[in-house]
């Protein structure tokens, strides 16, 4: 109860701050929308070796990419708060230290889910057809993944000193992971070695599962494995994030 209440207080503060920065909101959203609008039409005539329309493959990929990129960069905001002394000021209050992490993470999840809804709506306008329950389950996957990455990103931000340092690490990690998960094009197109490598990347399982639910398939191994991997990743990242967050550096 207390942790929940404390998380709510921190969440409120973070959400208000997000809603204030209209430009950030706008540009954060613009990139995935452009990707969908300018890249999506290229795929409509291609045979990607998957069932369903190309939109049912691309939209889940862009959703996971949004969570991956959006989630991994949230630490930059925390780093700024750290350097301004805002975080220290908040840490010298009775609010639970874990709530300082969870409140922020919850804000990121809400923001990413809102952006995902917009993205799906744009997809619909372009020709995406997917069952509503499938879309809702897909958004749930995105939410869990966003929580995982955001917590991890905050853990990282607590343990580096400067923004360039943070960006270098986040970029280096996010780029290959993104390519290896088959977000923009399915891994069915990949040669054997690449397909094998992508099996080591957890987001691969998330995006495969989201593609399945967008096709209306819920009770199969791909979805079960995707759910298990995504939840395990979230548990691991939240625990790791909380640890890294709690560790005090100078």
């Amino acid at each position: 109860m207390t942790l929940l209440a404390h998380t709510g207080i921190v969440f409120g503060r973070c959400l208000r701050s997000t809603l204030r920065s209209k430009t950030n909101l706008f540009f954060g959203m613009l990139q995935p929308l452009l990707l969908l609008a300018l890249f999506g039409p290229l795929l409509t005539g291609l045979d990607m070796g998957v069932s369903g329309s190309s939109w049912q493959t691309l939209v889940p990929g862009v959703l996971v990419q949004l969570a991956l990129l959006g989630g991994s960069y949230v630490g930059l905001g925390l780093l700024m708060d750290r350097n301004l002394g805002v975080l220290d000021r908040m840490r010298v209050t009775p609010v639970s230290p874990l709530a300082l992490l969870l409140g922020r993470t919850l804000r990121d999840v809400v923001q990413l889910v809102a952006q995902s809804v917009l993205l799906v709506l744009l997809g619909l306008a372009f020709g995406l057809r997917a069952p509503l329950p499938g879309v809702l389950v897909g958004l749930l996957f995105v939410a869990v993944l966003a929580a995982a990455l955001s917590a991890l990103s905050y853990g990282l931000a607590m343990n580096v000193r400067t923004s360039p340092e943070f960006a270098a690490i986040a970029n280096t990690a996010a780029m290959p992971l993104m390519l290896l998960s088959g977000l923009l094009l399915p891994m069915t197109l990949a040669p054997g070695w690449l397909e094998g490598a992508s099996r080591a990347v957890p987001f691969r399982y998330t995006v495969d599962a989201v593609r399945q639910v967008f096709l209306g398939h819920y009770a199969n191994t791909t979805v079960a494995v995707g759910a298990a991997v995504t939840l395990a990743l979230a548990a691991l990242c939240l625990m790791g994030g909380a640890r890294l967050f709690g560790r005090v550096r100078g």
Partner: protein, 259 residues
């Protein structure tokens, strides 16, 4: 000094760096009386901020113990946090946040209800002359105004002890004088104990009931301004600067002293 509100014994902090250990604080023993204004004076790098960060629960000590506002620093850090205020040297304001948002949220972080937090924000704004600035983003305030907001944030929970880290560094002379008045007023009206660090001799001289001089992580002298002048410069009429030079062998000010 009727009762003490801060007791520190053998406080140390060593940072492990790749280049070897840095002994930032080498053993601080200190007692501060309730309602006292203590000036923690020392040159840059003396260990003032490190000491303050330990006393405010932000940094775990390498050794030693402390009791603050009746709570044990190591065993009950949350209890300490409830009873203190901390104003960091870097301030801790979000430039995009309005003054009101900062004040009310700080009250909420001290677990006040929405109504109580709003009430407390208005009360502090009136007391610190911020009422006309409530809807301004803190990034649009002058240095002196910003400092007042930061101090208001440190006072939201009516702390028994407020820690101020170099509160006037970077302020113009007029704002410094205003801030000194504010600190004196807070102590006079609420009996708040003030633990402030400074590297300005004139600030310690003008504001502090008692001065603790730190250098290289240790306390090297302690007393009222007059005592320090008499003891180290031989004459209470000389400047604290001379006493300080005698104590540390060097001057504190990186730039000419204001005022």
């Amino acid at each position: 000094m009727s009762s003490s509100v801060i007791r520190v014994r053998g406080l140390t902090r060593t940072f492990a760096l790749g280049s070897g250990p840095v002994h930032a604080v080498r053993g601080i023993d200190l007692t501060v009386g309730r309602g006292e204004i203590l000036g923690f004076l020392g040159p840059n790098g003396a260990g003032k901020t490190t000491t303050l960060r330990m006393l405010t629960t932000l940094l775990p000590p390498s050794g030693g113990e402390a009791e603050i506002a009746g709570r044990d620093l190591l065993r009950d850090p949350a209890g300490v946090r409830r009873r203190i205020g901390y104003v960091a040297q870097s301030g801790g304001l979000d430039p995009a946040c309005s003054v009101r948002e900062e004040l009310v949220t700080q009250g909420r972080l001290h677990l006040m209800s929405r109504g109580a937090a709003a009430g407390r924000a208005a009360e502090l704004a009136a007391e610190l002359g911020l009422s006309g600035l409530m809807d301004r983003p803190t990034g649009a305030l002058s240095g002196g105004q910003r400092r007042r907001v930061e101090i208001a944030l440190g006072l939201v929970n009516r702390p028994e002890v407020v820690f101020l880290d170099e509160p006037t560094t970077g302020l113009d002379p007029g704002s410094r004088a205003e801030l000194w008045d504010l600190v004196r007023r807070v102590r006079a009206e609420h009996g708040t104990t003030v633990f402030l660090t400074t590297h300005y001799l004139d600030e310690a001289d003008a504001l502090a009931d008692r001065i603790v001089v730190v250098d290289a992580g240790r306390i090297v002298a302690e007393g009222t301004s007059a005592e320090l002048k008499r003891r180290y410069a031989g004459d209470p009429a000389t400047s604290l600067q001379d006493a300080f030079l005698a104590i540390t062998g060097r001057s504190t000010a990186e730039r000419p002293l204001a005022i």
